[in-house]
């Protein structure tokens, strides 16, 4: 795995992080292309299954980006998402994937800079960690 470029899936709430990503673009703030943004109507709509499937398909990192605490457009979708992420982290540990590969973050629609910063930090963190064991196993399987 030379020149490892991590694949990161970011589930972004339409009302905050996704708009923040737009904001980052219009402010000409760059963020790593490793982050694949999936727009969701609310972070609370992200299911454990989406995260697990992302890892199964070879993602090296996943994060869920929701609204700031108390600012959820649907009241408490973001806090539900945070609990779900904590639950999936434990499951990842059981499977044997480092739970640090999964994160819950919050931001507001206006935080273009924060969006770019989170995307960069997550990419760098995962780059340091190396490929997810599943990604690595898939690659080995293909090579063989």
């Amino acid at each position: 795995m030379d020149n490892f470029e991590p694949v990161i899936v970011a589930f972004c709430c339409h009302y905050c992080a996704y708009t923040a990503a737009d904001m980052a673009g219009s402010q000409r703030l760059s963020y790593p292309p490793n982050v694949k943004v999936v727009r969701v109507p609310c972070s609370g709509k992200v299911d454990a299954m989406h995260i697990v499937k992302a890892f199964e398909k070879g993602a090296d990192g996943v994060y869920v980006a929701g609204c700031l605490e108390g600012d959820c457009h649907f009241k408490n979708g973001n806090s539900k998402a945070a609990r779900m992420v904590a639950y999936v982290s434990k499951y990842m540990e059981e499977i044997g994937i480092e739970p640090e590969r999964l994160a819950m973050v919050t931001m507001s629609a206006g935080m273009g800079y924060r969006f770019a910063q989170v995307a960069t930090e997550m990419t760098e963190k995962i780059r340091r960690m190396g490929p997810s064991p599943i990604h690595a196993a898939i690659a080995t399987g293909k090579a063989a």
């Binding site: 454990a48 199964e56 499951y91 599943i134 399987g141």
Partner: protein, 222 residues
């Protein structure tokens, strides 16, 4: 409902390690409601098992199927077209469902993915608590609708032990004293005299003490 929780992944992997193709069977009834073995949990477990094995340099093909009701032979029959294509079955139903699948497919290994816990109710979102032990001779009519068999840690039938404190059971503050609840309810109903009458020693034959139980409805039985 019958409540259950998934077994640790490690235990499940030990069961399935020798096999190449696995049928993972969920159930749409109780275990779906308590988020242990419905369609969604089947999906999550299938992914988890595949990833865990892949990581260990092995692989398994997991086919997913969720039955309407796994404790009913009529629905288990649905698995017939799938069964020949797999080496083993893992059931995400309660123990009743696991046994029904095992009974139907005698030459297939069948493993439980869940630990069946108790008959309970949902106290709030995500929290289930024991309510009934199926003693076969319901006392609830005399105890204000709160069961001392299922909800008193010592299944006392004649009142609270000396460890009841501030409405809590002696085993922990997170457990209500069943008799404190019963007493409050009897008072609310004006039925305090129900407490005075001694409940005699229970006949446990109806509760499984007489061996495995069976119900036969003659009008329905074929």
């Amino acid at each position: 409902m019958i409540t259950a929780e998934r077994k640790p992944l490690e235990e499940l992997i030990d069961y399935i390690r020798p096999f190449r193709r696995l049928l993972l069977v969920g159930c749409n009834e109780c275990v779906t409601v308590c988020a242990a073995g419905g369609r969604k949990e089947v999906g999550l477990l299938a992914s988890g098992l595949q990833m865990a094995l892949l990581k260990a340099g092995a692989s398994i093909e997991v086919r997913e199927h969720t039955l309407e009701r796994q404790c009913d032979p009529e629905y288990v029959e649905e698995l017939v077209p799938m069964i020949d294509g797999v080496d083993a079955v893992m059931s995400m139903a309660c123990g009743c469902g696991v046994q029904e699948v095992a009974r139907r497919f005698k030459d297939k290994p069948v493993f439980p993915a869940l630990n069946t816990k108790f008959m309970g109710a949902s106290e709030r979102q995500g929290v289930w608590a024991e309510r009934c032990q199926g003693c076969g001779d319901c006392l609830l009519g005399k105890t204000g609708g709160i069961c001392p068999i299922a909800r008193c840690a010592k299944q006392l039938m004649n009142g609270p032990c000396g460890g009841s404190t501030g409405g809590h059971c002696e085993i922990g503050d997170d457990v209500d004293c069943a008799w404190a609840l019963i007493w409050e309810r009897l008072k609310a109903l004006g039925l305090q005299e129900n407490y005075v009458e001694i409940t005699p020693a229970k006949d446990w034959r109806s509760g499984g003490g007489g061996g495995p139980r069976k119900i036969i409805r003659e009008d329905l039985a074929e």
